[in-house]
Structures are given as structure tokens and as C-alpha cells.
Symmetry: C2
Subunit: 233 residues, 2 copies
Amino acid sequence: MRYHTINTRILIGAIGHMCGAQSGVRSISKQTLLRLPMYLDYLKRLEGEDAAHISAPKIAAALGLNEVQVRKDIAAVSSCAGKPKTGFETARLIRDIEAFLGYDSVNEAVLVGAGKLGRALLGYEGFAQFGIRLVAAFDRNADAAAMYGKDAPMILPMEKLTDLCRRMGIHIGIITVPAESAQEVCDLLVSCGVRAIWNFAPTRLYVPEGVLLQNENIASSLAVLSAHLKQSM
Amino acid sequence: MRYHTINTRILIGAIGHMCGAQSGVRSISKQTLLRLPMYLDYLKRLEGEDAAHISAPKIAAALGLNEVQVRKDIAAVSSCAGKPKTGFETARLIRDIEAFLGYDSVNEAVLVGAGKLGRALLGYEGFAQFGIRLVAAFDRNADAAAMYGKDAPMILPMEKLTDLCRRMGIHIGIITVPAESAQEVCDLLVSCGVRAIWNFAPTRLYVPEGVLLQNENIASSLAVLSAHLKQSM
DNA sequence: GGAAAATTGTTAATTTTTTAACATCTGTTT
DNA sequence: AAACAGATGTTAAAAAATTAACAATTTTCC
């Protein structure tokens, strides 16, 4: 079993029309992908105001980025051609970015591990705006396996995971169990058809090719803060 | 006011003995900094077992990194010289990384914005292990400004922020307010002496030179997941 | 209608980060 | 005790990401 994650480029397969000898595969850098949500957020706030059009230099200035970078990022995900002196159509850009990110369709997700962090995520209501719906949470501990909140998803015992994931065709798994059991949970999720895993456990996971692993590391962020303070003392 | 963040290198000033013409300033790349917590976690788990020594190739294999990269990272933060055929002393490495990251001393932090996400973070108990202690939370909404949980820090009205931060000499601020008010809160924190800001609001913040801004973006992570699913449909 | 200003899109240069290559050192094993 | 295997540390190459440079285009304002 080989470790697999997004390394440098994410290939976006374009089924259908291949023009000329071009293979029709668009490739986008991970860095660009990470910036897309920033653009999206900014554009949406903009739309609420007057601006029907927006230029790359404006976006760059507002977000503290380089202007060329913004243009390249836009070109990578949108066919929207900007007009000189005018810029890009705001609404169109939003549509294209959302479509690219898949926020326009809904993916259902399950969460495993209802400890502190897990329950915190369960309580987070922002998933919807990213096209993700948390349908259930699982925990080994039977005590925790009870209704939690009113609108929040149920916490179920681990035994029900396989069945539910298969029945509902779940594609996203969120892992918030301790490091020791993370790999085990990960394997279980993959065997149920999960194709993208968001790992909060501070450990390296191994997934088969074709499954995306995204590691979230609170510790890394804190390391940056902490190192800065250490330095500036 | 100029935007400032860790750009590419973090300068670590070494007060004291400067050998030769060397200025005594160590510089470490941001990427390295983000990997340090991974090493730390791995090494600690290792220490629990048998291993008094560990080699760079082993670490690299376990964490899915390049072996040279690991050696360079170690060299950047530790004076611990590895012995050929043996590797590095595990305990010494742990000490050095923790010292470098400042996890050995405690920094106190405040959180502003006790909405869903803010309360989730308040409930998170992992801060201690990174040398961070959350001493108080603030919210504009007076209703929310009440005791929350038993061990969790208090939620106080915004009016008390300035006084508390100044009195306690707080250096870290965590922002979990909506985008609209994030800059205002940020400015307030900076004016109270906060020198590192962990921003969860999906917006660009401007801080004066010398203050570190670390943006946390859940949306960016989800973008990666979502784009992958979009592609592999 | 024409000059000026602003913006696009692209190609080239720079910088940063990662990976490979290699010479050297240290335990271990026969 | 000598050869070997497994490390280290460093220097060089490669790859990736960012930034600069510039020609081409479109609106605006006289």
C-alpha cells in the first residue's frame, strides 16, 4: 500500500472534447487550490456591494497577493476572459470557482471520534457553504454514542459505520480519533468507499492510491506562532 | 501600515556569542517550521517505546518525507550532531525542537468571538501541550458573556479586553469573529500588546511590522477535499 | 477621433523548496 | 583487524512557485 496525497499538482480530468493533440487534462497547483477559497470569500463580499466587475490588481491588493498570481489562478479555474481596463465579471468568477471546487453539489461526510475536537467540529455549522454535509458521527465509546444537540448529527457506535457509509454512499471521512487508532479507522473508512479523508489525528496515515488524504495540523499553526514569540522576546 | 507575515524565512536572533564574522542569526524556512511538530509528535511516540536513538532515514520513512530534508530540518533547529550508523539521540532531539518552538515556556492567549467556532476552540484541551494557555474569551454579545463550562475560560464582554490583556501581558490573540469585525478586533489586540494573532476569520488582516499573523483557513482544507472528489467522480 | 490610463495575458527571470549525489565517518561482524 | 553496511553532512541539481517585464487591448476623457 503506497502513501498517496496531493503532491504538487492536482489533475483535473476533462472528460469529453479534446482539442487537437491536447490531452484535455488541466493541472492546478496545490497552492492555487488553497488560494481559491480566499478569492471566493472576497468576491462574495464584493458582490454584496456595488461591484459587478473586479480586476486582478484589486483582488491582489485586497488579499495581499501578487497581481500576476491572481490572474494565473483565475485562468486556471475559469474560462472567464477578463476585459482590459474593466476586469472580470464578479458573478461569473464566483460561479466558476464554486463549480471548480465542487461547492455547487453536496458531498456527504461522516466523522469518527467524538472527543473534544470531534464534537467541536460537529458543532461547526460552516460546512454547508462548502458543499459538505455531516450526516453522522461515530465513536467507540458507547456512552458518547447518543444524540448530541438537536440539529447536530447523531453520534453512533462504531459498529454501525460500515453499514451506514455503504448505504448512503459516503465519500468524505473526518478523523478525530487519537493517533493510535487513526490508521485503523482510516482503513475502515476506505473499505467503505470513502474517497477523501480529512485527518486531524497527529499521525501519518497510509491510504491507497486514488484516495485523498488531507492532514489538518493545529500543532503546525501553533508552532509558527510560538516560534515567533520565542524569537521576539 | 504595512502587511506583515512570515514570508519565507524566520530570523532567529542569537543573542550572545558570535563566532568569527558570522552574525549569529539563524534562519529557518516556513516549511521547515510546519514540519517540526510532525517530528515532535513522532519522536515522542518513539520515546515511549524502546528507541533511544533514531536516524533521519527512519523518520523520513515514517513520515513520508525525504531523508535529506529531515536532516536539514534537524540541523536547522538542533545542535545535536548525529552519529553515523546510529542516528540522533531521541530525547535530545525532542528537547531541542520543543525549545526551538517555545513549547517549554508558557504563553498566555485570549480568544475573541465566542460563536460556534470560538466555543469549539475554547473546549479544545490540546493547547497546553504547545505551551499555550487560554486565559479568557471575549464576545460583543453580553448574553454569551457568561461562564462557559467549568474548566473553560470565562467569556467576558469586550469592554474588559484592553484592561485584561495589558494587565496580564497577553501575547497571543485568537480571532474567531465574523469577517466584518475581524480587522477592528485585530487592531484592538495589537494596541494591547498582542504580538501574534491566530486568525480564523475568512478575511485578510493588516498588522504592523513585528506582529505575526497566522491565518487558519478551514475553507482551504475543504477546497482540497472537494476538488478531489469533483475530479474523481 | 485620438491620446492616455488601466488592465489583460503571456513569456522570462528569480527565488524558494525539494531531491539527488557524494565523500566521510562509525559501529558491527566475521 | 579489516571489510562492510548504514549513517551523516554538505554541495549540486532539479523542480516548483513567485514575481517581474512587456506587448496588446479596451475604455475614458478631451
